[in-house]
């Protein structure tokens, strides 16, 4: 499977990955509406963590051992056998936050309005995830996980 790799040495923390992620998950697909008008507010599935000059664009890694799946109280999280992605069944998610506590990246996002967890699906309907495609500095890389790593 493919993953998003980060090249933090050229990431300047501009946050465009977050902007485009939020846009992607908006209903209007309009930047201004996505940020100012839509309710419930569309949420970015990724997060940019910064400290000093280091900035990291963090998203779900669809980990092999995925602690979120085991921690999920309702069975809403599972691995899609066809894509190997960790997916959430929003029907069954109650937004309890146990996955957020279990995840080493603390990345499962809770949509307070919908009372659901939302997560990255690597933009399955796009050739390249929008965060990667719109990174102005090529600090994000969408690449096949190397054989040696799997």
């Amino acid at each position: 499977m493919k993953k998003v790799y980060i090249k933090e040495d050229v990431c300047i923390g501009c946050g465009l990955c977050e902007v485009y992620c939020r846009l992607k998950h908006s209903r209007s697909k309009d930047l201004v509406k996505a940020y100012k008008k839509e309710t419930p507010r569309p949420l970015s599935r990724l997060r940019v963590d910064e400290s000093g000059i280091v900035s990291l664009s963090v998203r779900c890694q669809h980990c092999d051992d995925a602690p979120c799946i085991g921690a999920c109280l309702t069975g809403a999280l599972s691995r899609d056998p066809s894509t190997s992605l960790v997916i959430v069944d929003e029907e069954r998610c109650i937004g309890c936050g146990t996955c957020t506590l279990a995840c080493p990246l603390g990345i499962p996002k809770l949509d307070m309005a919908q009372k659901k967890m939302v997560k990255c699906d690597l933009c399955q309907d796009e050739e390249i995830p929008v965060c990667v495609a719109n990174c102005p500095n090529e600090a994000l890389l969408y690449a096949e996980v190397e054989e040696a790593l799997t």
Partner: protein
């Protein structure tokens, strides 16, 4: 009657631990026979959802922990509504209440927990409930449906189960009084300040919280029915129903005379193996390794049950695996207030260091011993709590960046690269074409 063919993997328990084990076994052994036996007549369901079920409207189908075709797809035979009454490690059998004896090669005890039910006058009255499984929720639902007028309830015990049932009852329009023996509700999983978030939310619902007292007896005016609860100080709270939620203990009846080593729960090693050969245990019934305390303890939470079950299953199927350990961990969202906690919530002595940050109605606290995290409480905002939890789980020395853990702007970037690099995808592979072509940089014009 003794089944002639031995079941390769027999699992007692159909909840998180049992399912975790069955899934792990099937990853390794596609064909070996698996049988799950449970005294509950339902396909696996999410136990934490029994409060949603009680709160209404919540269809029972939505409580399913796995897809309807789960058992069939994984070739798992189920014996649901069948109670195991005895385990015989020497003969490698279990005896069912129905009279059947099952023979096994590998056995998993994922029997879970059972509510502690105190000797108390009135505890047999109609209108007295526990709140641990779907049938409890159904019983309370059926009871409430008989009433047209406003019902009052006393919940005895202000722990997770007590607060869960309170939230559900409130959503049904029931007036609730919680009686908690200790000084604050949720005291085993929250410190007093974080519990204050819940107390405030509960106060807004009109819920009455009594702390520092116990219930002495459940009163009855009409024969067989609850009329109120009397506390240890003589106060009486009139009610039509009482829920006993003072705690849960491991369900150990089936192993009582088996000779399997028991402390507070079934003692297991890091492979989740019990003292008897080929018998494993996990979940609320087991006493497994706690990475905060460094010893075996009961940590009856869902994620640990699943993970322990998974490790047990892998070992049962012949793949040597060690349980990294678990610790008490809970994420709460009662009344829309998000709280996450793990490990210790109050330092037991002054050899621990406590760091606290409060801002914008958010409360973050970590407890550190000898450079390593021993506990955490995040209230009001639990995003990124997982980073701290995993630092604790991986026993990372946090001395050099401990202040950052509770800071407003805490994130992965606050940690040394050696920590976050492993958690992220790793270093980007070499030679992968980037999205846009790399253009020759423009020449800088200096001067004119």
């Amino acid at each position: 009657m003794v089944a002639t063919r031995k079941i390769k993997y027999l699992i007692i328990g159909n909840s998180a631990g049992g399912i975790g084990a069955a899934e792990a076994i099937r990853e390794v052994d596609k064909a070996g026979t698996i049988t799950i036996v449970s005294d509950e007549p339902y396909p696996t369901y999410s136990r934490p959802l029994i409060s949603e079920y009680l709160a209404h409207p919540y269809p029972v189908e939505k409580m399913a922990y796995r897809q309807p075709d789960f058992y069939e797809k994984n070739k798992i035979k189920t014996l649901l509504g069948e109670k195991v009454i005895q385990v015989n490690p020497d003969k490698r059998t279990v005896k069912l209440e129905s009279g059947t004896t099952l023979a096994w090669q590998k056995l998993l005890l994922a029997t879970g927990g059972t509510p502690i039910f105190p000797e108390m006058e009135g505890n047999q009255l109609k209108g007295v409930f526990t709140f641990n499984r779907l049938d409890d929720s159904r019983a309370i639902d059926g009871f409430l449906n008989q009433y047209r007028n406003r019902v009052r309830a006393v919940v005895i015990g202000g722990g997770l189960i007590g607060v869960s049932v309170t939230e559900a009852l409130l959503r049904r329009g029931i007036e609730v009084t919680i009686v908690e023996m200790k000084d604050w509700i949720l005291n085993t999983i929250l410190d007093e300040e974080a519990a204050g978030f819940e107390v405030q939310a509960l106060a807004q619902t009109g819920t009455n919280i009594i702390t520092g007292h116990t219930a002495e007896k459940i009163n009855s005016y009409l024969p067989g029915e609850v009329s109120g609860v009397t506390l240890d100080d003589g106060r009486v709270f009139p009610c039509q129903m009482a829920v006993i939620a003072i705690g849960v203990r491991p369900r150990l009846e089936v192993v009582a005379e088996s000779g399997i080593k028991i402390n507070r729960g079934i003692v297991v090693d890091r492979r989740m193996a019990t003292s008897a050969p080929d018998i494993y245990a996990c979940g609320d019934a087991a006493e497994a390794f706690d990475f905060v305390y460094g010893v075996n303890r009961l940590t009856p939470v869902w994620p640990n049950a699943y993970e322990g079950g998974r490790v047990a299953g892998l070992n049962m199927a012949g793949t040597q695996t060690e349980y990294q350990g678990g610790t008490a961990m809970n994420a709460l969202k009662y009344f829309g207030v998000y709280i996450a906690s793990a490990g210790l919530v109050t330092p037991p002595d002054d050899s621990y260091e406590t760091l606290i940050n409060r801002y914008n109605g958010i409360y973050k606290k970590v407890i550190i011993k000898k450079g390593k995290l021993a506990g955490m409480v995040f209230a009001g905002d639990i995003e990124k709590s997982g980073i701290v939890y995993n630092l604790m789980k991986d026993r990372v020395d946090v001395s050099k960046f401990k202040e950052a853990l509770v800071a407003d702007d805490f994130g992965l970037a606050s940690l040394p690269e050696s920590v976050w690099r492993d958690w992220l995808a790793g270093a980007p592979p070499e030679g992968v074409p980037v999205i846009t072509s790399i253009e020759k940089p423009e020449e800088l014009v200096i001067g004119d």
